[in-house]
Symmetry: C2
Subunit: 241 residues, 2 copies
């Protein structure tokens, strides 16, 4: 099981932690790891006990977007409370991931660097946020321990009985990105978006779209529609606010 | 919360892991740690980020029994399947611990050494066994990561609504030990136990007793009864089998 679940480490700093994450993945039946923009490229396989193969075949990405591109649903993790974005618990992550996978989606979990975690901007790139409830005294969980808890809950979720897999294939992140880019151009052209700050509204539209779990075909249709709008809109002055 | 939950590390070998366990305890609101018969007494507080106080006040025990003595209910952990003893999951451990604590019991979780975990003999000293379900490929979880998962589930369990605390005080391990010792003498005296191997049957009786969640008073009564039997039995030849 678990081939459709990936973990992304964004800007990890300590090779030991990377090895510890790899071990936890294998403990719970996962093996797909991407490492984006790490502080070191020298990972000691000794920390990845019986998980050396995960490190060896880990996908090395330069950016967060490159690492998460292949997945349909991306859940970022944080120990902070994020304004206006409700966070799910690890248990809910396990259940939600299992449900989406049953519907044909691949999913990934993103963990940030040891010192600061994911920034608000990084979390904007994620379709959902998972927060591990901790004590106020020490809210920050070690990276490899956080990964162990998340992998454990993902495994629990995947053990639940699932409805039969539907035929529709979920759109990947990259396909949704292309749709959002086309929509940006179309809505900028139509004078709907503020050219100085188009991404806030686009981010909201994107999250709405992802909540609807769009198929590949639906995203292709919408992308074609956005492109058609792009070609046909007559530039108009933006409505004043 | 959590003052009635303790963690026991039995024969840990790596100071980093001990620090990692301490950090995970504080992450999830716990702080009672006992370290029994470790390979090193030099723990680097740097690995116990914001949990240095847990290491500093950790109870240093020479034996497993000394470390678990103060608790009413002791759950050992293992990645192995143990013959004839069903294991509970971490989630069940969280729920069971919360239920027993609501009834006034203190509980502790024992983790074994990094290389072999707890032996069958160590697990015999535990009232229950918890097994974290892992993949066959790499069943062995890093000590600090296993502690993180267990502390996480204990916190989840303690967040569940609980019935009001009952007035009866649960017997501690040490009190149960004294009862078992008196029972051993009484049943050996009565010719019921095989003097060559009394502890197998006693272990079963003990587990039955602990399942019943005895109060201090009940254990005192039974101990007095066993002592009275000791004094009054006339040695008889053991029944042949």
């Amino acid at each position: 099981m678990g081939e459709e679940v990936g973990f992304v480490l964004y800007k990890p700093r300590l090779a030991d932690n990377v090895g510890g994450v790899a071990r936890a993945l294998v403990n719970f039946g996962f093996s797909r790891l991407a490492i984006a923009d790490p502080a070191t490229w020298h990972f000691d396989p000794r920390s990845a006990v019986k998980a050396e193969h995960v490190l060896e075949k880990a996908y090395m990405a330069l950016t967060l977007d490159e690492a998460i591109g292949p997945y349909a649903w991306v859940c970022g993790t944080t120990s902070r409370k994020i304004r206006r974005r409700p966070a799910i618990s690890p248990r809910e992550l396990g259940e939600e991931a299992a449900r989406r996978m049953a519907a044909g989606a691949s999913i990934c979990v993103v963990l940030g660097s040891e010192n600061h975690g994911l920034t608000d901007e990084d979390l904007e790139r994620c379709d959902a946020i998972c927060r591990i409830d901790t004590s106020l005294e020490q809210p920050s969980i070690n990276l490899a321990q956080a990964a162990a808890i998340l992998a454990y809950e993902l495994r629990q979720g995947l053990k639940l009985p699932r409805p039969p897999r539907e035929l529709a294939v979920a759109a990947t992140r990259e396909e949704v990105d292309r749709l959002v880019a086309s929509t940006r151009e179309a809505l900028l052209g139509a004078g709907f978006l503020n050219p100085q700050q188009p991404d806030k509204i686009l981010g909201e539209l994107r999250r709405l779209l992802v909540r609807g779990e769009p198929t590949k075909r639906e995203v292709e249709l919408l992308t074609a529609a956005a492109k058609q709008v792009q070609r046909t809109v007559v530039p108009t002055p933006r409505r004043s606010e």
